[in-house]
Symmetry: C2
Amino acid sequence: MTEPVLVVGSTALDTVEGPTGRADDVLGGSSVYFAAAASLFAPVRLVSVVGEDFPDEARDLLARRGVDLAGLEVAPGRTFRWHGRYTPDMNDRETVSVELNVLGSFRPKLPEGYRSTRYVFLANGPTATQHSVLDQMSGSPYVAADTMNLWIENEREELERLLGRVDLLILNDAEARMLTGRQSLWAAAADLAARGPRTVAIKKGEHGSYLAGRGGPCVVPAFPLESLVDPTGAGDSFAGAFMGHLARAGSMETEELRAALAAASAVASFTCESFGPDRLLSVTLGELDERIDALRKLAAF
Amino acid sequence: MTEPVLVVGSTALDTVEGPTGRADDVLGGSSVYFAAAASLFAPVRLVSVVGEDFPDEARDLLARRGVDLAGLEVAPGRTFRWHGRYTPDMNDRETVSVELNVLGSFRPKLPEGYRSTRYVFLANGPTATQHSVLDQMSGSPYVAADTMNLWIENEREELERLLGRVDLLILNDAEARMLTGRQSLWAAAADLAARGPRTVAIKKGEHGSYLAGRGGPCVVPAFPLESLVDPTGAGDSFAGAFMGHLARAGSMETEELRAALAAASAVASFTCESFGPDRLLSVTLGELDERIDALRKLAAF
């Protein structure tokens, strides 16, 4: 039986606008995109927080995917809200507004039954919160983590310590450069892999993804999308597919790590095809296999 | 016997500076980098111009590679000089100074024996000059061309007409976006392939290269260089390896076009390992095969 995957991260109601249109108050957040992707491969346990305004339909969407919501706390107040706007070229975005709401005081407490989960993903969030989750775990889980510029700037020391506690670091190219001060992505990845994580996966958007350390070096191209609607959640669904694939494979051998990278790249491409997680939630394993196969053909030379 | 490849482009004495050091008056120019790379695979005929100050040693370097220099005109005056400076991250460069010198009045005239060459590369240059070369050719050569922002801005109409006369367009990502007005590189490449060239090869620097149209879609990663010394000439040596590979293969089948892309990517990586064409000129076919093999392993997932 496939081992479950635990994710600790945000749940949000997102408003997204850009050259392809606008969507208001759609289901979002790192834990949601991760769970939607990982549940294609493995059972998922979600630890997050929502407010009293969180719609039942959103909860049902995840429950129908078999996501275990025992760790989804409902706190007094409103759900975390993020409003972002993509640039005309879709390569960058600005935050129009953020309401932390219940996320501001979120101190994840793992249900007893979650503490021995074998696969754990610490989504982007305050580094102390990421440490506190690991402090609650028993056994020796396979731990993956993400981070962002805010924590790299302000919590450098705690973050360096976190690197020593994770097996897999998943971040984007700008973050890898910022965290290491190295311009060459190859050098940045090698540097990070030497600081603790056995494996480093770097997301490069339209330029694909790169795996360094154990399993690497490996490059998977991005799938050439005809219609890029909204990249929000692509990174978290990338992580979800990566971890879900590993849990299903039950192995961290080189071949599986590389196949996980391909699955992650393929799944992230579906995420970009709609506002919110709609397209991601409708993907079938057959469609996924087709897209992974297309990536392999793209890289056959 | 492998058919020869004809290149028409610039010959320069380059001064290059950047975070990795500085080199003064090194051999450069598009025809030189192209010829150095293509001569790994096929006989090369070079059409270009130099001044009376062009050093004999530079000429000898090319002659020793078997490059046919019957088309290298020596004009009264000084050789074209370019002085560039790379940014600290090596991802961009600025031109410190340009002295066109003899290149300013260069009107290439093909030696009679060159006019039926089967493979022709029109390096970056005034679009009218590129047309004039094709006007001098007989038969139906396989034609590849490069261009740059200056001509895209100022010679749009002539450039559009050129697209209808070439089989293979080789340009970088920024140029592809500029020429089509499309932000998505996939869309830009598809658009270009619909305007005449059967095949479009897009160079993306550290992000590798992409082939669209006939032979595509195909993505080849960049080789993860440990020491990037000077990217000058990488693009022209990419084109040289691509065309040289095709000439040696004697075929424009999909498989050969994709192998040409891999060879081009590998050769360009050697070019970046030294100032000037030194490293490129020292590459052996054995080293090249090793690097192509490494690229294939990098893309095995």
